[in-house]
């Protein structure tokens, strides 16, 4: 069944230095990287950014192919962005002019850089999700956002919801698979018919699936109550997040890169 082949969170287990970094470091580094990307505005600064990305991917050991594969769904957005920038950028050097369309040299550069920027943005965030397990990522986010708890933002609750959702995705996929098989054994047909017929055919799948999801939620709630779960206050963790030397180094490096690219961008490089 094809359902089992879905990759979730697209995590690529590994032991590279990138994998071993603290999730908070990676999150902050990605934020700095994105800021730097928006500060870059000419070939030199983009070249620096590209170098940073290429080196990070190399160190992480994630196959370039799988990063490229993840770009497929955004091709439409890329093309759209490129066209918009191409036609709507005013400038001095007119290259082509026909009917109501004008293409300027500035437009060409702008479209080119925009596409590169989006591609590198996606590649960078992919690297984060490829090298950090979803659970660690949630832990990292919770820890980074914890200052907001002072403002009574329900950070722990949100993180808990996220971890539980992640935890149950494989379970629900398995369940879907099982119910589908069971209904197909009774002659249900999920593959043929027009859109309306197909939607109707999903009913014997969705009803039991929802019922079991509610049942599981109920059981989980009871199990959590039985263990005296009462929210985030005073709760300790199995996996303690801890900054190490490599984390400080990475953060400083990315800070330096961001400042450097900002300076380069400021001088129009």
């Amino acid at each position: 069944m094809a359902l089992k082949d879905i990759t979730l969170g697209q995590y690529f287990p590994g032991h590279s230095p990138v994998h071993r970094l603290d999730p908070r470091t990676k999150l902050l580094a990605v934020v700095l990287y994105i800021v730097a990307l928006f500060l870059a505005n000419w070939f030199v600064s983009y070249a620096v950014m590209f170098l940073v990305l290429a080196l990070s991917i190399k160190i992480s050991g994630v196959p370039v192919k799988s990063i490229l594969r993840g770009m497929k769904p955004v091709v439409f957005i890329l093309v759209f962005t490129a066209l918009l920038n191409l036609f709507y950028t005013g400038g001095e050097t007119v290259l082509v002019h026909f009917w109501i369309f004008t293409i300027t040299l500035e437009g060409v550069f702008r479209a080119f850089f925009m596409v590169i920027r989006i591609l590198m943005l996606i590649a960078g965030t992919f690297l984060l999700t490829y090298t950090t397990s979803p659970i660690l990522l949630t832990d990292g986010l919770e820890s980074l956002l914890s200052p907001l708890k002072k403002l009574h933002a329900p950070i722990h609750e949100l993180a808990m919801i996220m971890s539980i959702a992640l935890r149950f995705i494989p379970t629900l996929i398995e369940e879907t698979d099982k119910i589908m098989s069971a209904q197909r054994a009774r002659g249900a047909d999920f593959e043929s018919g027009n859109l309306f017929q197909r939607a109707r055919a999903l009913l014997p799948l969705l009803v039991p699936l929802f019922i079991s999801a509610f049942r599981r939620a109920d059981e989980l709630a009871v199990a959590m109550e039985c263990r005296c779960y009462h929210g985030g206050e005073g709760r300790t963790r199995l996996r303690q997040l801890k900054y190490r030397g490599a984390d400080y180094f990475t953060l400083l490096l990315f800070l330096a890169i961001t400042v450097g690219v900002g300076v380069l961008g400021h001088f129009g490089l």
Binding site: D5, A182, R186, G187, I211
Partner: protein, 301 residues
């Protein structure tokens, strides 16, 4: 006699071509004969679930063939669909697939998909409900109002209503109390007799199997290492033990007695046989001393 359902060199590999590749079945030759009551036994992950899902065309073999009444079920889509109706499969915990507003509608889901006319559907639904011991007034209830055991009956009725020639049940008694187990097994035996259908029972309870089936097929690690009548299969006690299966407790006791030097026939697996063996060892003829076998059994256990 020709088998009604047969696999030839059936191989199934999950997630082929990925790092998660796993061969669940490896060149399995399996056969079920018309009208027999067959048991498939194996521990979790042995490949037994994969095997039964091939028998009615839910899974497509990676290589090898599945034959129903001598024809390959994958030659054309019509044959595949037809096989699903002729080979009924009741999954583990089938009560979780109920979805309709009433019990009646849920049981009629299968027959409706078969394209039968209304009168025939009605007859089949009522017959199937009768088989599993549902009352007429329960047919109009929502299946979600019923108890766990009753839900399972409804789900089994949903498959029986298709009147399949082969009925496969995956752990039909899992999680039921002893009374529920007996009554479900009774329903299955009734269907077996009434339709002269082939029954394939999947379980890991040796006791339950020994009492119900005529032939046992042991699945282990994607192969069928042992098959035959229960008495014969249970002689491979050590091998079964290694597969994490073991033999019925009674058989184990009798093997131990034999090892201790008691002159007794160890190939027993039901209370009836045990009684006969003990009496024979004591030099007395096994005569009936009144009482039903069921009562006898309860007393002994």
């Amino acid at each position: 006699m020709d088998p009604i359902l047969e696999t030839k060199a059936l191989t199934h590999t999950y997630s082929a071509g990925t790092p998660f590749e796993r061969t669940a079945l490896d060149h399995v030759d399996f056969a079920a004969y018309p009208g027999e009551c067959l048991g498939i036994i194996g521990h979790t992950g042995s490949g037994k679930s994969t095997l039964i899902q091939h028998l009615n065309g839910l899974l497509k073999p990676t290589s090898g063939q599945v034959l129903f009444q001598g024809t390959n079920i994958w030659t054309d889509p019509k044959a595949t669909r037809n096989t699903r109706f002729q080979v009924g499969l009741v999954f583990q915990y089938p009560e979780y697939q109920l979805f309709e507003e009433t019990v009646y509608k849920d049981i009629s889901f299968g027959p409706k998909n078969m394209g039968l006319d209304e009168k025939e559907i009605d007859r089949r639904v009522r017959d199937a409900a009768h088989f599993v011991g549902l009352r007429d007034d329960q047919l109009e209830k929502s299946p979600f109002e019923l108890s766990g055991g009753q839900k399972r009956r409804v789900a089994i009725a949903g498959v029986i209503a298709m009147e399949p020639q082969v009925l496969i049940l995956d752990e039909p008694t899992a999680g039921l109390d002893p009374e529920g187990v007996e009554s479900i097994l009774g329903n299955i035996r009734d269907y077996h007799r009434a339709h002269n259908a082939t029954i394939i029972l999947v379980s890991h309870s040796m006791e339950e199997m020994a009492r119900t089936v005529e032939r046992l097929v042991v699945v282990n690690d994607g192969h069928i290492p042992i098959q035959g009548p229960p008495r014969q299969v249970f002689q491979h006690g050590d091998e079964l033990e290694k597969m994490g299966l073991g033999v019925p407790q009674l058989t184990r006791v009798f093997h131990r007695l034999k090892a201790m030097g008691v002159d007794i026939d160890p190939s027993v697996y039901t209370v009836e046989q045990a009684r006969a063996a003990v009496l024979a060892a004591l030099g007395r003829s096994p005569r009936r001393t009144g009482g039903e076998p069921a009562a006898d059994e309860k007393g002994a256990v």
